[in-house]
């Protein structure tokens, strides 16, 4: 598993692994657990321009349909085809094999949460 303290987080329960000019994005174990068994993942096409806070996809579980928000400004560089084929990876490996999209960053990063800040948020 990735070192969770090296990741950044959003209040919409996404994690980001920022590596130079790209960010890999997924949803947290907390969010995956709240959603329940994920049965469908809809991701944006590679090359799509995304903007922080905008809906770029959806994650459907047996219980409900959740929206996937882009956490940063940029362009979709890659999507995780494995998770489209096997959506339960979001539950079984949210921080690794269950990653969703990789974004080429444009401009400055918005304010993101540290691990401690995110954990504090979900403990409320």
């Amino acid at each position: 598993m990735s070192d969770l303290t090296t990741l950044k987080y959003t209040a919409e329960h996404e994690w980001l692994l920022i590596d130079g000019g790209t960010a890999t994005v997924g949803i947290t174990d907390y969010a995956a657990d709240k959603l329940g068994d994920v049965v469908y993942v809809d991701l944006p096409a590679v090359g799509t321009d995304v903007e922080a806070g905008k809906v770029v996809g959806e994650i459907e579980s047996t219980k409900s349909v959740g929206e996937l928000f882009a956490p940063v400004l940029g362009t979709v560089l890659a999507i995780n085809d494995a998770v489209v084929d096997a959506p339960d990876l979001v539950n079984s490996s949210p921080f690794d094999d269950g990653w969703l999209i990789r974004i080429t960053l444009s401009g400055d990063l918005p304010t993101l949460l540290s691990r401690d800040e995110y954990v504090a948020l979900t403990a409320e």
């Binding site: 049965v39 469908y40 959806e58 459907e60 047996t62 219980k63 349909v65 959506p87």
Partner: protein
């Protein structure tokens, strides 16, 4: 009478109006009454355990209580009404008693049932079970404008009686959409209000309830469709947020307890 919680006021007002001129009083005891449902094949065994513990004392044997019948009794000497009812499609009971004693009955059931797999269940669990059992729900399959025959409930109205309140509305409506079961491909649920499409993509109905069936492993839904598309085996589609998912009309219920 036990109304759907959302219909409490409507049911009370309708009855109060009807009672006018008769030697009848209509009281709404909802705020003073608790209802605990214990559902599933082990339900009778768990209540038997409470009888053995001398806590639950039904006025007549539980084993003789038939489906949709009630009996009186006591729990810890407090009056309780035991009904062999529920909205899960399984055997089970609903127990009515005063609010004050209800937590104690809840704990007694949880303790006596622990070894039999009794767990607390929320509304989503109940809703999935009633959907699999093909049971229509007010606000989804049923509304004030729905006629019994449309919802597959023709059997609950005796039209051989000449006159009764609501008789006109119990008659089947010519050409009206009828309730059907749909079995869908894949894993995505058809949820309430999603359009039902014919093979040409024309809207011929609307989903009223849907879920990925835990028992069957595929999505199931109930929907109102035009009568021409209501025959079992008809190939239809459901518009799941922009994607048409293939669906087939199937007989209700989706699942029947053995």
């Amino acid at each position: 009478m036990v109304a759907n919680a959302g219909n409490r006021q409507v049911a009370f007002e309708t009855l109060a109006k009807r009672a006018h001129g008769f030697d009848v009083t209509v009281d709404d005891e909802s705020d003073d009454t608790a209802l605990i449902a214990i559902q599933g094949p082990e339900a009778e065994g768990v209540l038997d355990e409470l009888i053995t513990q001398d806590r639950l004392a039904p006025d007549s044997p539980l084993a003789e209580l038939r489906y949709y019948r009630v009996l009186q009794g006591t729990f810890d000497d407090v009056p309780v009404l035991v009904a062999r009812t529920g909205y899960t499609g399984e055997d089970g009971f609903e127990l009515y008693l005063d609010n004050e004693t209800a937590p104690s009955l809840w704990r007694a059931i949880a303790e006596a049932g622990a070894s039999r797999g009794v767990v607390p269940a929320g509304l989503a669990s109940r809703d999935t079970l009633r959907l699999e059992a093909g049971m229509p729900l007010y606000g989804h399959e049923l509304g004030l404008d729905t006629r019994a025959a449309q919802a597959g409930l023709g059997r609950v109205v005796d039209l051989s009686k000449d006159e009764f309140a609501g008789r006109d509305n119990a008659l089947p409506a010519e050409g009206a959409r009828v309730l059907v079961g749909l079995a869908l491909e894949g894993k995505r649920a058809a949820r309430a209000e999603y359009p039902v499409l014919d093979p040409a993509g024309v809207v011929v109905g609307e989903v009223t309830s849907g879920a990925l069936s835990p028992t069957l492993g595929h999505p199931v839904a109930m929907a109102y469709v035009d009568p021409d598309f209501s025959t079992v085996g008809t190939a239809l589609g459901v518009d799941v947020r922009g994607t048409t998912i293939p669906a087939t009309v199937v007989a209700l219920p989706f699942y029947k307890r053995s």
